[in-house]
């Protein structure tokens, strides 16, 4: 396990409202190696963002609790870390970029200032203004911003969406983190710009030798970027495997359904396969298979207790009692 940069064991994050308990992330287990790109895919409300936010303590402590589990990073358990400890890690060792760059950037500071802010927050010595400026310009050049000497004085609104997201990436990378969490980093961008930003993340990952957690609802992006993938549904990981396993040999009915539901560019299908029903939100802890109501293979056993993971191959497992059975292929 020593080469694992982060290890999550049995993580449970629940939201509390006046009357309900929402098990947003339930029994999440995964680990990540240095330089790996881990994808988390799922539809809205499946808990993918909750998992990512739990890792860096970006959760609202008023109504959200990490119920159980450990997040081991550099010998500390982030699930139980103090706010002070988390502050030291966030933006420094683990950084995060978000979906909408315009909302994430401050409208009243120049982008250069916002990059500097992170560096100052995490440096101990006195800042050399001139050197700092050079570092920022260098960083902006790395994320592909043309003429950074001029852009450093710009405000967020003066930049286009793609450029804003590049600034967000520059902010995230300012302290050379070990892990970059990218939560739907290109959902707000156009496809041609999306391709540019994803390529940038891929190149920077190698250059900075980071690990990346990429959260997306787009299976195409995940297929192109990730080494390993977690598929989430209703707060749990339903399937975990290498990119190849997930796309070429999916063993959970949900993963299979999702892959068949997306219109393909290669072949024409008269009718798309569609998963019946709607994406559920659970408002109490669950003890059945969460996909049972929409699953074509569901039987009584699925409704009795939540299925355990079934191992399919090295590093490939699915939370379905039929995962290793032939019936799925029918």
């Amino acid at each position: 396990m020593d080469d694992n940069i982060i290890e999550v064991r049995g993580l449970k994050t629940y939201y509390y409202t006046a009357t309900k308990v929402i098990p947003a992330a339930d029994d999440i287990n995964f680990s990540m190696k240095r330089g790996e790109v881990l994808g988390i895919v799922g539809e809205s409300g499946c808990g993918k963002t909750t998992v990512a936010r739990s890792l860096v303590g970006l959760i609202n402590r008023q109504n959200t609790r990490i119920e159980a589990g450990e997040i081991l990073f550099e010998g500390i358990d982030l699930a139980k870390a103090t706010p002070k400890q988390l502050e030291h890690i966030r933006g420094n060792k683990i950084s995060m970029i978000f979906q909408d760059p315009f909302v994430s950037l401050s409208p009243v500071y120049t982008v250069g200032n916002q990059i500097a802010e992170v560096m100052r927050a995490h440096s101990t010595g006195k800042v050399d203004k001139k050197k700092e400026r050079e570092t920022i310009i260098e960083l902006m050049r790395k994320v592909g911003i043309p003429s950074p000497e001029l852009r450093i004085k710009d405000y967020a609104y003066q930049l286009s969406g793609g450029m804003q997201q590049r600034i967000m990436i520059a902010i995230a990378l300012a302290c050379r983190p070990d892990i970059l969490i990218a939560d739907e980093p290109t959902t707000a961008l156009d496809v041609t710009v999306q391709a540019q930003v994803l390529e940038l993340i891929r190149n920077l990952k190698d250059e900075f030798s980071m690990s990346v957690i990429l959260i997306s609802h787009n299976l195409g992006i995940v297929a192109n970027m990730c080494d390993r993938i977690l598929v989430m549904y209703g707060g749990v990981v339903v399937e975990e495997g290498s990119c190849y396993d997930i796309f070429k040999n999916p063993r959970h009915p949900y993963t299979r359904g999702l892959l068949m539901a997306i219109p393909s560019l290669k072949e024409d299908r008269e009718e798309l396969f569609s998963i019946p029903g709607t994406v559920p939100t659970f408002t109490a802890p669950v003890s059945t298979c969460r996909f049972a109501d929409r699953c074509p293979h569901a039987c009584d056993r699925c409704r009795e207790k939540e299925p355990d993971f079934v191992d399919i191959g090295p590093g490939h497992r699915a939370r379905c009692i039929f995962a290793d059975k032939e019936v799925l292929n029918a």
Binding site: Q196, L272, S274
Partner: protein
Amino acid sequence: MPEKEILIEAKNIKKHFPVKRGMFERGEKKTVKAIDGVDLVLYKGETLGVIGESGCGKSTLARVIMHLIPATEGEVFFKGKPVDKTNIMDFRRKVQMVFQDPYSSLDPRMSVKRIIEEPLRVHMKGLSKEEKDKIVRPVVEKVGIEFDVLDKYPHEFSGGQRQRIGIARALVTTPEVLICDEPVSALDMSIQAQVLNIFRELQKELGLSYLFISHDMSVIKHVSDRIAVMYLGKIVELADKQELFDNTLHPYTKALMNSIPIPDPTVPSMKAELTGEPPSPINPPSGCSFHERCPFATERCKTETPVLCDRGNGHLVACHLKEETKC
């Protein structure tokens, strides 16, 4: 080509929005050329897909055709007759619209039944309750909603169901054309497939024609018979689906296709072929509006605006580089 009945014809549509001048700004008044000369024909029974990036004017085009906003220039014909004040009600009855966001396009204070019946109150005044029910019931059942739940309010439905309600509302006046503005982009993947299937079934059953707007190439490919690619207020390429994919002519269309991530790890896809982002329609580049991002741009592209012309088989493209054949 066999003669097909033309339902909607848009001729040289332009829509320019004036830009508000700041207090100290001087000089010429600026305009956003959201649509700058678009010609479009929609045949009976077909689906015409319109694809483009944000800001290319595809939604404005839908709204102008619907006469929700007045065009700056140009005319829309429905079955050969120009649409004007005298026949706009008739036009809107035959041409209905489905919107992108099923959360904001349904009035939260109306019951779903009232929402779906609303077009009837406008277009077929004086129907009794029973008569309305008789029209509404088969329509909602067609889109997969039970008639008994119609007394509920929109917030009680999920995103996919709300989009079905939006479709049902569009269908009650028995239209011939549906203009769909990004109807599935707010939906989850598993729900998107359900809604796309509904569109297909309705077309088969009712012989509808669709003008289907989306930014998602895989969705557009799935639903369309013909595809129009828009860039900065203009159509840059228009062809039959198969022809467009087999014989892509415009460099922008090519780049658009190559930047789509394909959900298959064994297929190398998604190349960032283009640099930069779509320019602002306030100050579009001279000549071909794509020349700043085009890897093949020549001097001519910087000064001369290419026109959309036929390269055979109804394959239209606006690019100087493809002008070896006569235009």
